[in-house]
């Protein structure tokens, strides 16, 4: 190590030193910013999660402590919300993948011959990003309310019980999560499928594999980077979302997720330690799940 450093300085006495100074100048402001506004907030979140109530009992005032019981308390109190968050996010991710794969396949593979059509469809996929996602979610709330055309038709056709509701149910929250994160799933899938070399598929069928086997053994493995990126980009924000599950949007009293209780504890109840402990649990669980998932799908180099 030391020898190598010595050798380079001998060969080029000036260049490396000057270059490293430029690199430092380029990196320092941004990295300092990330340390100040990303890393230390995580540390202060951990410190907050261990705080104990103020001895004079003031609401919203806490002292630094090592009150790890906060974690036990929030798990005991909010375990249904924790399970719901990951359950809803998982179902929404699977649904978004099932919805997006054929769409991305058409844009990335079938439409290759028509570049104009391809770019029009890509614009349409990202079009939802241009309009506030809160308004889109509220649009679905109106479109799927009890008096809406869709729901009254379903009831008229006896496909839905006359006294049933859609908004406010877990299905509505999962529907909203799926809808809102579809572009995040479709874009990475498109990126890998667009580069898919069709000769591999030909080779598969030349070896007498039926179309389904070719799809399962060739197309899916080759599009794995897109699948992993898309599922992560969907699962992580979906697990932490609290807009869809909020009572004013698609959720109801029995659909509250971790995000909702973190928001309520932090901004309404001013119970900062509980909100912080829940945030740390959410982040740790996601890091563990993502780590296992990325390792098992064999795409570590993505990170």
């Amino acid at each position: 190590m030391a020898f190598a450093a010595f050798a380079t300085t001998e060969a080029q006495p000036q260049a490396p030193k000057r270059k490293s100074r430029i690199a430092l100048f380029l990196l320092l402001p941004g990295i300092l910013y990330m340390v100040l506004f990303f890393l230390t907030p995580l540390i202060s979140l951990i410190l907050t999660s261990l705080q104990a109530p103020n001895e004079f009992g003031d609401i919203g005032v806490y002292d630094y402590a090592f009150n790890w019981q906060n974690y036990v308390t929030v798990v005991q109190e909010y375990w249904p919300h924790i399970l719901r968050s990951f359950g809803y996010a998982l179902v929404a991710t699977v649904l978004a993948l099932a919805f997006s794969y054929p769409l991305a396949y058409f844009i990335g593979v079938k439409a290759r011959r028509w570049p104009l059509l391809q770019s029009v469809m890509l614009v349409l996929v990202i079009a939802p990003f241009f309009i506030s996602f809160l308004l889109r979610t509220l649009a679905w709330k109106q479109l799927l309310s009890d008096e809406s055309f869709i729901i009254t038709s379903l009831k008229a056709l006896s496909l839905m019980a006359p006294d049933a509701h859609f908004t406010g149910t877990p299905a509505a929250v999962i529907f909203g999560l799926t809808y809102n994160f579809i572009p995040f799933m479709t874009l990475p899938l498109y990126t890998t499928l667009e580069r898919l070399d069709l000769r591999y598929l030909e080779a598969g069928s030349d070896l007498y594999a039926n179309p389904f086997t070719v799809f399962r053994k060739v197309t899916i493995p080759l599009s794995m980077p897109g699948i992993v990126a898309g599922t992560l980009l969907t699962f992580i924000p979906a697990a932490g979302d609290y807009v869809n599950a909020s009572r004013d949007f698609l959720g109801g009293p029995d659909t509250q997720m971790m995000g909702n209780v973190i928001e309520a504890n932090f901004l309404v109840l001013l119970n900062y330690p509980a909100a912080a402990a829940l945030s740390i649990i959410l982040m740790a669980a996601i890091l563990v799940l993502v780590g296992i998932y990325v390792r098992r799908s064999g795409t570590e180099d993505l990170l």
Partner: protein
């Protein structure tokens, strides 16, 4: 599951049609029926998928023309009034929130694009020891749920005793935009042709001349894309804003708060105008890119 089956069916069709063109030696007759199914199923599915994706957008656009009184839930007739008098509702609360969002978006974008571009250049061009930990530090914010980022920053501002206002929102937005800028600009720096900078040096350009006259102009499209992405992310952000905004209103926050009592049609007007503006911007960019590609193809 159904998606897989459909894609598989279509895949079958694709295989078949290509084989028939190349060498029809593997009895295409039985398979020809499947070509029809596969060729129709996927385009039809794609059209339906786009209808589904665009329904809420069309709804929002249509209801910006609704002659609503207070809340904008049922259709009461067509009017241009809301478009012409956007700021007349609730003492201009919608417009104030919108203006705040624009200011926050612009400031956060300028800072994040500057810092992020500098990091991206350093990451691609220079080797240094802390490289992998720096990459991790930039990747982690993108893998962290927004609610955790928001609560973390709010906890820090609380601990330090900083009051929440416009500045804290800008600080928060800049943080998550930097990561996205780095990713976007990095790709552009990595794809630069080193021969162009070499040519600049061969012509006796000083390092700073080579950078500002050759490298930087070549990076501009990537930097511009990164800036647009940051602005879009900042403008539409609600979750992180909600934790760090105090009493300051932004456009998404305004919608969230008024959701319980009904959104005025004026909010739809602003969202629709932003949507149409962004759509035109993207179309112009796509068309000019296609035109440039055509010109380049003609030259070579």
């Amino acid at each position: 599951m159904s998606g897989e089956v459909q894609a598989a069916a279509v895949l079958g069709g694709l295989q078949e049609s290509e084989q028939l063109e190349d060498s029809g030696h593997r009895g295409g007759r039985v398979r020809r029926q499947r070509i029809g199914l596969g060729d129709w199923l996927l385009p039809v599915y794609t059209v339906l998928a786009f209808v589904f994706l665009l329904i809420p957008i069309v709804y929002t656009l249509v209801f910006s023309f609704n002659d609503s009184i207070k809340s904008n839930i049922s259709w009461r007739g067509f009017t241009f009034d809301k478009w012409l008098n956007v700021c007349n509702v609730e003492g201009g609360a919608v417009c104030e929130a919108f203006a705040n969002s624009i200011v926050i978006g612009l400031v956060a974008t300028v800072i994040a694009t500057t810092l992020g571009t500098m990091i991206a250049i350093a990451l691609v061009r220079y080797r240094f020891r802390a490289r992998s930990s720096i990459s991790l530090l930039l990747f982690l914010p993108m893998a962290t749920p927004e609610v955790v980022l928001g609560a973390g920053l709010a906890a820090q501002f609380l601990a330090v005793g900083v009051p929440k206002d416009m500045t804290t929102i800008i600080l928060a937005h800049t943080m998550f935009c930097i990561s996205f800028v780095v990713v976007t600009v990095k790709a552009r720096v990595a794809s630069l042709d080193p021969a162009l900078e070499e040519a600049g040096r061969d012509l006796y350009g000083s390092p700073s001349q080579v950078f500002w006259r050759v490298t930087f102009p070549l990076l501009v499209p990537g930097i511009l894309a990164a800036a647009l992405l940051s602005f879009a992310l900042s403008f539409d952000d609600f979750i992180i804003t909600n934790f760090n905004s105090g009493s300051v209103s932004t456009f998404p926050k305004y919608i969230y708060i008024s959701a319980s009592r009904g959104i005025p049609a004026e909010a739809n007007v602003i969202a629709s105008a932003v949507f149409l503006f962004a759509l035109v911007l993207v179309i112009v960019a796509q068309v000019s890119r296609a035109a440039r590609a055509k010109r380049l193809a003609k030259l070579s």
